[in-house]
């Protein structure tokens, strides 16, 4: 018995015909059997029909059954086709491993970069904050017109007036810097923290995970010094997750405090930096001193809006109260108003533009990657025209072929997405690790369900986008493909134009990314070249905070600092040792400035930077003394008050004159004694991006801050000195922790992190884009030369010189490059504005950057078309004309 093909899907008329044929066969066979047993032919036929049974019913029954199976088959056929397509795609990809590898790497990089950036955006911009009804939580600041700071701190009296005068918020709480040194069984540990009033946690809508938070009245003088709340992190890390911690006493900065609660794991305070311990904030002692209540700005505030009140309404009300305070207390409040922002905006803050720019950049990279793969598929489609034509001739419809090619690109995209996913998990971790200072609440960033869903979507969209165009292009004109199998056929012209358009688009996108990266690189190098006013090489910095009975008096502090300075200076390799209230790299304090015999103009005294420094600080920092003298041991408490001014302060207040010998007063209190100017030193820049600020330095022997930031200048590797420093500190007092031990270079690097990271990522994206675009250019040129082999052969045969042929190929590539550059640079100029907040010292339309990008891109395009151009030159006209 021979078999035919499996029955194909059948129409209803076909089903009926099949059934009739099947039954006719039966009747014929049965009748013949009856004839053989002796019946006459007509009788036999009648008998066969008679004994069959209900023929009409059987026919209807069978047809209904067949119709049902046909319907079922259609579904299973689709599934089978899909399975067949996937298997076929897999085989095809394995047959061309080079193509598969390049496509997969391209896609994995594009999808991976997007996922990593998106998971950060998701964690920071989109995810829930750890506060109940976070939309109602608002951060409140003082806004300072003269320094253009709109996120400044509040004075206690202003805070109370704002809090009690408004109606928009149900609760407003204040907080100030705090923390302390925890002394347990091991080495002392410095814990970052905040002092908070009893309203802060209820304004945030946060309850403790264990125990409770502060209740009303616990921020009063009576109980304030005795309580503490721990963050979940410090509870795990320092206290070993002790579940019976609530009620126990711990020693914090020499004072015993009872732990009343542990906060939830996801909680973080909506400020920059970490807060590990929370102690009560008691404003009463400060409010007693009338001179300080409105002039000492050290409070942060959080509020909870009443239902139905918007952030903007709350802000407007606070500003109007602040305006009234400005009028009522012009001497202290002139130029100070209020500001408020929803907590999400406050937390994300300056990171938002950087993140959105990076997200945009990664999307551009993905677009380029898709364009690349689409281009590669287009080229492949050409070499597969015959295969497709054969399949078409065998009965595969156009839809079926498009579906098959789409399946292929989806298989490709899925594999790429899978690898990209792996890259993203790794990349997100690396990103969070290198960006902890830049990303608030970095702990929330992870690849989660939302991110996964997004990746799957992005992958599918990619697969469709880069698969649809080539497959439609390939399936068109398929019927002619079998007839003209020659390579030089003209069928590829439209397709080639499509590929050139893709490459032009890629070059344009790459140009935009390169401009963005170039601008960020130039910003960072401007920042790094900034003259800080001091030398940062071979300097170790660390911080010490004095706590305990020994340091209750200024003399006790002096004794400690003198002994430590002496011990450190005696260490081998140490050149100079100094200490100041703040590291200038991290910013600093300020004070109002009055000159004896020179009444100031206007309501308000001018402000200068304020810094207590040790005797050798200028020497250790490398800040030059230009006039007068530095501080010495004789400038002690009780000796005449002295001050050293920075050059810009000297210039500003004594234009053309010499301040040495003049007397000035720092701070608002008219009762404090005048200080004599004894010297002038070089300018020091505050922070890394700030301007040199007119500054007044006082002797640390005359203003004791308790904590000091040390700088140790060495002749070798500063970090190698750190263990010796710890040893010396411990030798004097084993309860004092040395915190933030870093080289000055590292401090600078940390300050630049939030600028460096976007720069590095942008540069990585731009280089990726450049490489992908170069691959695209190479691909299209190689393909073009291959397709024009015969034409080039004819030209050579007709006398074209190698130079002409070479030029022809290069000209074609350059044309695409120029078109891409024009579009890309125009786009970059138009989009440059989004970068403004990330730039420093360059404009978004920096000519040098644009010119550099243009040169780079043209150079890369030339290199990419070098190999195809050489191949074109080597074409042998005889062979080219003879081939196919």
């Amino acid at each position: 018995m021979r078999r035919f093909l499996r029955l194909p899907r059948r129409s209803s008329s076909r089903l009926r015909a099949d059934l009739d044929e099947e039954l006719r066969f039966y009747f014929d066979m049965r009748a013949r059997e009856l004839v053989e047993s002796g019946m006459a032919e007509p009788d036999a036929r009648r008998e066969a029909v008679r004994e069959f049974g209900d023929l009409e019913y059987t026919k209807r029954y069978c047809l209904a059954e067949d119709a049902m199976s046909t319907r079922d088959d259609r579904h299973t056929d689709l599934l089978a086709e899909l399975r067949q397509d996937v298997a076929h795609s897999w085989r095809t990809l394995r047959r061309s491993p080079a193509f598969a590898a390049v496509a997969l790497i391209t896609l994995a990089l594009g999808i991976g970069a997007n996922t990593a950036i998106f998971s950060v955006v998701n964690g920071l911009l989109l995810r829930d904050l750890p506060y109940r009804d976070a939309d109602g939580v608002v951060r409140i600041w003082g806004a300072y017109a003269n320094t253009k700071r709109d996120r400044g701190q509040l004075s206690p009296a202003d805070f109370l007036d704002l809090r009690d005068g408004q109606r928009s918020f149900s609760t407003i709480g204040a907080f100030a810097f705090g923390g302390g040194t925890y002394l347990g069984e091991g080495d002392p540990v410095r814990l970052a923290g905040l002092r908070v009033d009893a309203n802060v946690f209820s304004a945030l809508g946060v309850s403790a995970a264990i125990g409770r938070t502060f209740v009303a009245g616990e921020d009063s003088t009576a109980v304030a010094p005795t309580l503490v709340i721990l963050s979940h992190g410090v509870w795990r890390r320092v206290f070993g997750g002790d579940s019976s911690i609530v009620g126990k006493s711990i020693s914090l900065s020499g004072r015993m405090r009872t732990v009343i609660g542990v906060l939830p794991p996801a909680f973080f305070f909506p400020t920059a930096g970490e807060a590990e311990v929370f102690t009560p904030l008691d404003l009463t002692p400060i409010l007693r001193d009338a001179n300080r209540t409105r002039k000492y700005h050290f409070l942060g505030a959080v509020g909870r809006l009443r239902p139905g009140v918007s952030v903007e309404q709350g802000r407007t009300e606070l500003v109007s109260i602040a305006r009234r305070l400005e009028r009522d207390y012009p001497e202290s409040n002139a130029g100070i108003t209020a500001n408020a922002l929803g907590v999400r905006d406050a937390v994300v803050g300056d990171t938002r533009p950087a993140l959105l720019v990076l997200l945009g950049a990664s999307l551009l990279v993905l677009l380029i990657a898709c364009a690349n793969v689409a281009g590669m598929l287009l080229s492949r489609a050409v070499s597969r025209r015959q295969e497709l034509a054969v399949r078409s001739a065998l009965g595969a419809g156009r839809a079926r072929l498009v579906r098959q090619m789409l399946t292929e690109s989806l298989v490709l995209a899925s594999a790429g997405g899978l690898i990209g996913m792996g890259l993203a998990v790794w990349g997100t971790r690396a990103l969070v690790a290198s960006a902890d200072t830049m990303l608030p609440a970095a702990s929330q960033v992870a690849v989660d369900g939302t991110v996964l869903a997004t990746v799957v979507l992005v992958t599918l969209v990619c697969g469709v986008v880069f698969g649809l165009v080539p497959s439609l292009a390939a399936s068109r004109g398929m019927h002619t493909a079998l007839k003209d199998a020659s390579r030089g056929s003209s069928g590829g012209v439209g397709r080639h134009r499509l590929r050139t358009a893709l490459v032009t688009g890629q070059l344009a996108l790459a140009a935009m990314l390169l401009v963005g990266a170039g601008l960020l690189v130039r910003s960072l190098s401007r920042l790094q070249q900034n003259d800080l006013g001091y030398t940062i090489d071979a300097v170790l910095t660390f911080e010490l905070s004095l706590a305990g009975e020994r340091y209750a008096t200024p003399e006790g502090q002096d004794r400690f600092y003198d002994e430590l300075t002496g011990r450190l200076a005696a260490l081998p390799g140490v050149v100079a040792v100094g200490a100041s209230g703040n590291l200038p790299m991290r910013g600093g304090a300020s004070a109002s400035f009055a000159i004896e015999g020179k009444p100031h103009v206007g309501d308000k005294l001018p402000e200068v930077g304020y810094q207590p420094v040790s005797d050798d600080w200028f020497k250790a920092m490398g800040v030059p003394l230009t006039r007068g003298r530095a501080f010495g041991p004789s400038d002690a408490l009780g000796a005449p008050g002295v001050v050293i001014l920075s050059e810009s302060a000297a210039r500003q207040f004594w234009p053309g004159g010499d301040p040495v010998g003049a007397r000035v007063r720092l701070g608002p209190n008219p009762d404090i004694p005048w200080l004599t100017v004894v010297g002038v030193v070089g300018d020091v820049r505050m922070g890394v991006a700030g301007d040199p600020r007119p500054t007044a330095y006082v002797s640390a022997r005359q203003d004791h801050w308790g904590g000091m930031a040390f700088v140790v200048r060495t002749s070798g590797d500063p970090m190698a000195l750190l263990p010796a420093v710890r040893r010396e500190v411990r030798a004097i007092d084993r309860t004092l922790p040395v915190s933030d031990g870093r080289s000055m270079r590292d401090v600078q690097a940390m300050q630049l992190t939030d600028r460096r990271l976007p720069m590095q990522l942008m540069t990585a994206f731009a280089l990726l884009a450049l490489v992908l675009a170069a691959v695209g250019v190479y691909g299209v040129m190689a393909h073009s030369v291959a397709a024009r082999t015969r034409e080039i052969g004819v030209r050579v045969a007709l006398g074209a010189q190698p130079g002409n042929v070479f030029g022809m190929v290069v000209r074609q590539a350059l044309l695409a490059a120029v078109a891409g550059l024009t579009i890309g640079l125009a786009g970059a100029a138009a989009l440059g504005k989004v970068l403004t907040t990330l730039l420093y010292g360059v404009t978004p339309t920096d000519v040098a950057t644009f010119a550099g990008v243009a040169a780079l891109l043209v150079a890369v395009v030339l290199i990419a078309c070098l190999v195809p151009a050489r191949r074109a030159v080597r074409i042998d006209p005889l062979q080219a004309l003879r081939s196919d």
């Binding site: 021979r2 078999r3 039966y26 066979m29 049974g53 059987t58 199976s69």
Partner: protein, 110 residues
Amino acid sequence: MTKPPIDLLQGTVDVLILRTLAWEPMHGYAVSRFIRQRTDGVLTIESAALYQALHRLERKKWIQAEWGLSENNRRAKYYSLTTEGRKQLRAEAATWKTYAEAVFKVLEPV
């Protein structure tokens, strides 16, 4: 033919067809003839019921149909057992055996 043919229930027809096709692929006429000869004419399936069963079993994907050439070189629709059909046959045969044995246990002492 000493005894009259027994009328068969639908489920019985199905299992007989499955068993028959387990031998080799056959067209409908061959199936009907095979069952008749095998049971010495005791079991006769009315052809209408047979063809209904064949199409029903095909829909259930227990058997599949292919056009082939018959002994006398005519186009004929051949049915063969699918993997699923083989599974079904095994299950139904076991049920039948249990059923028959139970019935016998009651009838035996006669």
